[in-house]
Symmetry: C2
């Protein structure tokens, strides 16, 4: 079976459709929960699936260090290792080498670095990243790229983009022909329209199964990000999935979908679930706040996740304040379920040709703020 | 519906049967997972039930401090609060005041102490303990007792036992008549047969729905504990459940069941699940050990818990070494499932009149040690 992307509906720049892979379909626009170290933290994979997730993201950087890609391959691949038989997208390791590793040395060849876990020395190149992602058994493989820290001057961003484009070609060459597996290119170019255009042109010349918009959500702010998204998706092929890496908050996702993005990943719903923050249609709720301690109401009325179906805000407040693991389990579950319902709502609105009204209602509901205190 | 205990089979001193309560039946011999702060750590209650648990234990000391018994009562009681609709046994708070609180002052009236959480001052008396356990909605209420730290001289143990027996009468008086709810007395007397006999006599004179054997599993060692269990159960009423508090390791439980004990609780399976220790028929397995890191085999062959059904030892090793929450979730689930299967095996052996052979096989299997390294 081939990797394939079919757009079934459009509304303005937004599209809804599905990605078909041998491991299952991915309804788009899609949100991918992050399973950094072969687990979506505080969740069993069957629970992640129950929230509606079609695909997970795994992190090459973390997995290559521990337990190592070779070990996972010997154990039958990442899907079997972590008990998730649906599609997995792996990043290239490039971004996290820059954000987590120490003693980095960047050359034309690749990046040398020391592990943040034990200081051991490693090298990542486009070829090694492709090899690792193949060992993991990733369904959607990302090109190895370099993402400069912002703010950076135009010369730096241009040079970095050019390097990433040479690495994109090397990634494509190293990936080879793997039916049923996809390779995505990553557009760079910072906040510069002409650099973004040049990057897109080079990627199109190489040819990929999908295209990520990289180098955003790194501190530039939503207005600047939306500024890039006003033109960047249109620079990429119309008939391939577009993936905005590392995004984001619900309103980031809504704005990006309206601008033509099909795929997202972010640690936010799972990470904030471990710190007592619940995401609802009416915004973020800090369950550590004492106003919840006597509140018999669910976190979100009408949500059918286990946290909302079976527990009060008072209980969630209690277990979070008590540092009980069930607090992380329940809030992560709710947050992932909220994100998936957000995506399902966007897909239905696009299919129904009513995305504008849907987004207006999304913002109006958020403007209400959390339910009134008791 | 009344609280009722029916013995359906005997084998030597051992008994199997069931406790009936308005919230459900408890097959005995029973193991009660500990849900200290209104959660069995790292488990959803439906998962605890799936392991085969008929009843949970809640800790009065923890719950009275946070979120408070009054708050839980206002929210509909502990069952509703923590989403567990089957029976709950609560301890009296006495033991944990002694082991966790600071600035304790013991008088005939009760115990003053400071919270280990925030230093706030509290008082526990037999009457207040009964009130708290009623507010929680406990199905099986424990008398408020004093448990002296061992080693202690005979005079100290005798005085402590006498005090606990006066408190047992006050607990009985304060408990009143609550159909469908049970009150258990607690035998004390350390390792002294005559003090144990005196304690049992006083408890029988008051009259309880069940009888705990207290003051054991506090560092005296298995041989000394079994020494007491050789006579203590026989000092208690034959037709009421006998509960050995805070016990224990699998071989402790097996030895106590053979000596006529019907109920157990212990944090061991859940606590050790959070530190990478798995309990199996072949003994304890430390999954942090590097020998597991390439091992594709399940923790325990033939176990149908999620950890054994869907994951390798290599995966469990990886997530435990990586401090991932799923490691605690999976190992706690396995350990609670193992404990429940241990109890089910004992019940079946008693019912079949083959407990001796069953225990011999239990020890023979443990003597094999863990499976051979790869």
């Amino acid at each position: 079976m081939k990797f394939q992307f079919d757009i079934s509906a459009r509304d303005g720049c937004a599209r809804s459709g599905r990605i078909s892979t041998p491991r299952g379909e991915i309804c788009t626009p899609a949100f991918m929960p992050v399973g950094t170290a072969a687990t979506v933290k505080a969740m069993l994979p069957e629970s992640v699936r129950a929230t509606g997730a079609d695909i997970l993201l795994g992190n090459t950087y973390h997995l290559m260090l521990r337990p190592t890609a070779e070990r996972i391959a010997a154990l039958g691949g990442l899907h079997k290792f972590m008990n998730w038989d649906r599609p997995i997208l792996t990043d290239s390791g490039g971004f996290q080498v820059m954000s987590l590793a120490s003693l980095r040395k960047l050359t034309e060849e690749g990046v040398q670095f020391s592990s943040h876990i034990d200081g051991s020395k490693h090298v990542l190149t486009p070829e090694r990243s492709m090899e690792i992602q193949k060992l993991l058994g990733s369904d959607i493989v990302m090109c190895f790229d370099e993402c400069p820290a912002l703010p950076a001057d135009r010369t730096t961003i241009a040079a970095s983009m050019e390097l990433s484009m040479r690495w994109a070609q090397r990634s494509r060459d190293a990936f080879g022909d793997r039916p049923g597996h996809a390779l995505f290119g990553i557009q760079q170019g910072g906040l510069e329209p002409d650099l973004r255009a040049a990057s897109a042109e080079k990627l199109r010349a190489v040819g990929f199964d999908g295209y990520a918009i990289g180098g955003l959500a790194v501190g530039e702010g939503q207005a600047a990000m939306f500024g890039v998204l006003d033109y960047a998706p249109g620079q990429l092929p119309e008939d391939k999935p577009r993936y905005l890496m590392g995004v984001g908050k619900p309103d980031d996702i809504v704005g990006a979908v309206a601008r033509g993005v099909d795929m997202f990943d972010c640690v936010l719903p799972s990470r904030s679930g471990r710190t007592g923050q619940g995401w609802t249609a009416r915004g973020a709720v800090n369950l550590r706040n004492a106003r919840h301690r006597d509140d018999p109401r669910p976190l979100e009325e009408g949500c059918d996740c286990p946290a909302c179906r079976s527990y009060s805000r008072a209980y969630l407040h209690h277990v979070i304040k008590s540092d009980e693991i069930i607090g992380s389990m329940l809030l992560t579950w709710h947050n992932l379920a909220y994100y998936q319902s957000l995506m399902a709502g966007l897909r239905a609105a696009i299919a129904g040709g009513r995305l504008g009204a849907h987004i207006a209602a999304f913002h109006a509901t958020r403007a209400l703020g959390d339910i009134e205190p008791l």
